[in-house]
Symmetry: D3
Subunit: 243 residues, 6 copies
């Protein structure tokens, strides 16, 4: 089984982190291919960045269909391009936000999300509403660490631990959800520091895709998520045309 | 006042229709600039098409900022790129779906949306939920006319009229909302045929933008919708980088 | 085009303020007629006041139908009598609460309402629920200024500015909605003081009615909002009888 | 204990029916005073009628406070003037729609409302939403019997029985709620005919008020429902002024 | 009329308190039988306790059917076994949480629940959601008094009074709902101390059952709440088998 | 890793089916222990049956803690005893309804549940609401096959296939969720017959538990789901007492 894990930004360091995290958890015999798109922003910290990360994500899905991928993870907490990806992949596609938040609903009454910048909180609430988990999402908390600083700031882990502890206390939550793929490596340390379950979307999503593939479950393709109709694409994006 | 109306697909015929509809309703002294993006799909009939229409829409917003546009309409019923556009435009940005559906809430208990393909119905429900109008949206009905056939199929108007009449009856609705920018020119004929108010999102949105500009109202730019942070963009999309 | 703007209370000073605010924003050729009812409370600060303001509002609507009004604004933030007014007016009727709150949804993730007395906050939440904007309404804040003191208290503007600033900060909102028609004149000053968009329902509503009339949109009159059935009315209210 | 039951319309026949229904169910020692207002519409079949029934209802509440009433029922399925009445009554005030619908939630998964005219259905849904019972309200069905015809049409009972049976079957409901005070006398016959519990709001409300009074429960009067502030009332409604 | 009031725990002192509270409020001629189950936990302070209180409650319902009970109250604020009880009782069954919370909705905009342990708050929110009263439930507050300490701790009343006062202030609520049957006797003192209506679920429920019986209303028994199908039960619970 | 799969009814045939289904999907090295409770109903077809299945389920969880189970599946589509089980298990506990319905949300816009008896439909809707998936649950359809007939009725598979096909068509759904553990073996045949993904909760839940255990995720145990407080249990259930 081949699962393609697509880091939606172009940062190779974060892709490596994500890849290691995914590989360390899959079943024997499952291959993980962690990639960055060939185009787009180096980090995703606005609706603008997210919108422009989507073409690169979709190009990786299209390539994955050639490469024989059995399923896909979109490894960015905004789940960019998820609906579109489901139309062009024959196997299942899971975003790390949906995987992490739905996984956390099985751990108690509710969870707190700990994320990077304050301006990203709105997107998380939108996704929580859309995925039907807003009842379980007791708070979304920013650390004010930029995405790429998760790697470069030596205090990043310390800040995320302290934000997680504060969030759990303020919200009375049963679990923490890490709101950025770049925090994946921090997961076990935070859990052991704060004494609560901590959900990393990368691992949650890759295991979910592995399970879906094992069960033979794919996106339903007879209605809204059927392959896109063929039509002319022009300009910069002409190569995205499907025939 | 300059309002830029962006048809999210690359069909020049539809852009012309949209432009005429917008121009015919704005106040004296308001200039309408109706454009198609320089890249992307010729029509939007899937999540995939919609995702890939977004870069072209955002490029037109960015150009509009240079051209001195005071506000923007995104003229596609999926409101593609709306959140991202709000981050990079200094003036207001309104999608035709939000404009049409919110306008229709002032006309009675509820409305029916009449749209093109069955597979587009889900996106409309998503937007209705997100905009808080699902209580007013009593039904979303497909005509099974492809977007570009609205122009080319001689029976298109007749089919939309009959679908509108059937929708109003089935849903007991007080108004019809046209679920595609390409139906804009049909609006007065349908209204007179079925005897109910019919809302065209293009006109509703352009008047709403005009009103917002007149009142000096712009997207709040101190939080989630502040300008995107500068960062490296690579590959095909490198020109979208903001400094 | 004649738009009748009905201040739901009997205070002539507030009617004058409302009239000036409306007149200053409509298109050339649109006439505004700002009136107070001939009966009812001098200000609306309870459910009781609001209920008893309704007959006067409806009498003005009925008169407006004789006067040739093309549309109506109900200029009180409780939108008193809105559903009833829609049954007896042939043109559109818009309340300032629905206009202001729906307008503000186009400006970002959410808004804060700044109102007069604490006891009015519940009504605002009821309307936010009913109009489908409670997701966008991040807080309703009282200034503890009575309605008529907005005019007479020399510190009223200062208090509203400071309440608006505090509300925006507490709620993390992208815009302020003024929760009383009597605050209409304060709007531009508050906006410039706090650096956020401020929505005045009087201007939002009068522009919305103007737009609806331009688009030929009226309340759907074939179902719930058809003209009331004729029947005997007795006592004090016998003149409200419709034949 | 004195419970005042206010039929919100001016039809004396319906007031008599309502009075008999209420009197037959209260505890020994509880006095029921069933009245019609001195002003307003003879039946309530539109938002307009309902709005104009409110002053008469409020006048009866004010009189009731002089007469020593311990609690009130507003006996019209639109619950007209409920919030306002709660501000001026020292004892509890209950509408028959809230009483009937909340009572029915204790009888199974859900109920169907059977009402008079089709145009009244919207108001019922509004109330169901507001009272938090829309999850239990499985359908609202019109009989197309006008309110006063309930008394005069010899087939009225037969039609209500057949609509109730059809509603229960269509909705799979566990109970029927009668959606008009004028149907009160029909209640036992319908129940025995269709073999399902049938809830009459008049009896449900009068028993609820009796229970509230017995428990010493009144509307909370320290916030939103405190007595209205004194202020000038003018014109036709000057006598409603409170000092 | 015989109403059986089932304290869901096995504490005889609490059963006596509950019985006195119920008896003091019912109409002349209504007999109250207050009982504890013959099996289960002495107090209910977890989901585990609640689940294991259910068989005892159901055994009491089954016995009640033999004893000729006309209706039942389940006197524990988690309403344990309510749906199951409705299937095996021919008369109405009401839980004190549903009775208390629905009663409180008639007293203003919203109420605060004051309960025992912090860990019980989640269950209260679940019930509020399920009963459709979460809009009215403005807060759930723990006193950190264990259930059996309500009886034994001499400061219990004082603590509940002070928690009620704090809750009302923090939530701006119009009424207090007592979140444990064991607080029933405290009700009048708290009300007089804090000057707000205080709802005791035991009295609210017993009066509600009395009213339902008087109106001839029972659980609808033709669908979901029909008597359970006969089938083999084994082991410890074999006597619960129904034939 | 040991996962205990608890069939909530006492039917050994169904336990065997469930066990085979679970065993066939887990990773190498994961042991499945499929059991029936020692007490309770042979099938669960009412709220009464479900309530009385809970003690047996909880006894199996308690035994599992002695046996060294790492996680648990409650294999009945009503998820009986889930909250209580989470308090007494140190590892994760997942119900098949939550697992199946949440899994299906990753496969498109929505799913249809196909279940046994009509009277079980309400419980499914309750769970869909509670788990936040009611937006995705497009319909719940009964086959009118009793639980134990799934095994004994030679036409059972045919009936479930035809109900699944009809449900997908009526609801326009992207996937089918099997609403009874006893249908587990039918899953692949139905999927291949109807050409849509079909989700079996047994496999979905066992893979989810396996994933949770691999990620080191357990129920948060510092708040609502902490171990139950020790206290006296009496009568038939005295052995459930925890010290």
């Amino acid at each position: 089984m081949l699962i393609k894990v697509i880091n939606a930004n172009t940062s190779p360091a974060m892709t490596a982190t994500i890849g290691r995290s995914a590989e360390s958890i899959v079943a024997p015999g499952v291959e993980v291919s962690a990639v960055s798109p060939a185009m787009g922003p180096e980090s995703i910290e606005s609706h603008y960045d997210e919108a422009l990360a989507v073409p690169g994500v979709l190009a990786e899905i299209a390539a994955g269909e050639q490469e024989g991928a059995d399923g896909y993870v979109i490894a960015c907490f905004g789940d960019p391009g998820l609906d579109a990806a489901r139309e062009i992949a024959h196997g299942p596609v899971v975003g790390i936000a949906e995987a992490a938040m739905r996984t956390a609903t099985h751990l108690g009454r509710g969870f707190s999300v700990v994320t990077t910048l304050d301006r990203s909180r709105g997107r998380t609430w939108d996704l929580a509403d859309r995925y039907g988990v807003s009842r379980f999402c007791l708070g979304v908390h920013a650390t004010d660490i930029a995405v790429l600083e998760l790697d470069s700031d030596p205090d990043a882990l310390k800040k995320v631990i302290s934000a997680s502890r504060a969030a759990a206390e303020a919200d009375g939550s049963d679990a923490i959800v890490l709101g950025c793929a770049g925090m994946s490596a921090f997961c076990p340390v935070i859990a052991s520091e704060i004494g609560l379950p901590v959900v990393d979307g990368v691992q949650a999503a890759v295991l979910l895709v592995q399970s879906l593939v094992q069960m033979g479950l794919q996106t339903g393709s007879m209605g809204e998520f059927a392959p896109p109709l063929p039509k002319t694409y022009t300009g910069l994006l002409r190569d995205f045309e499907r025939r």
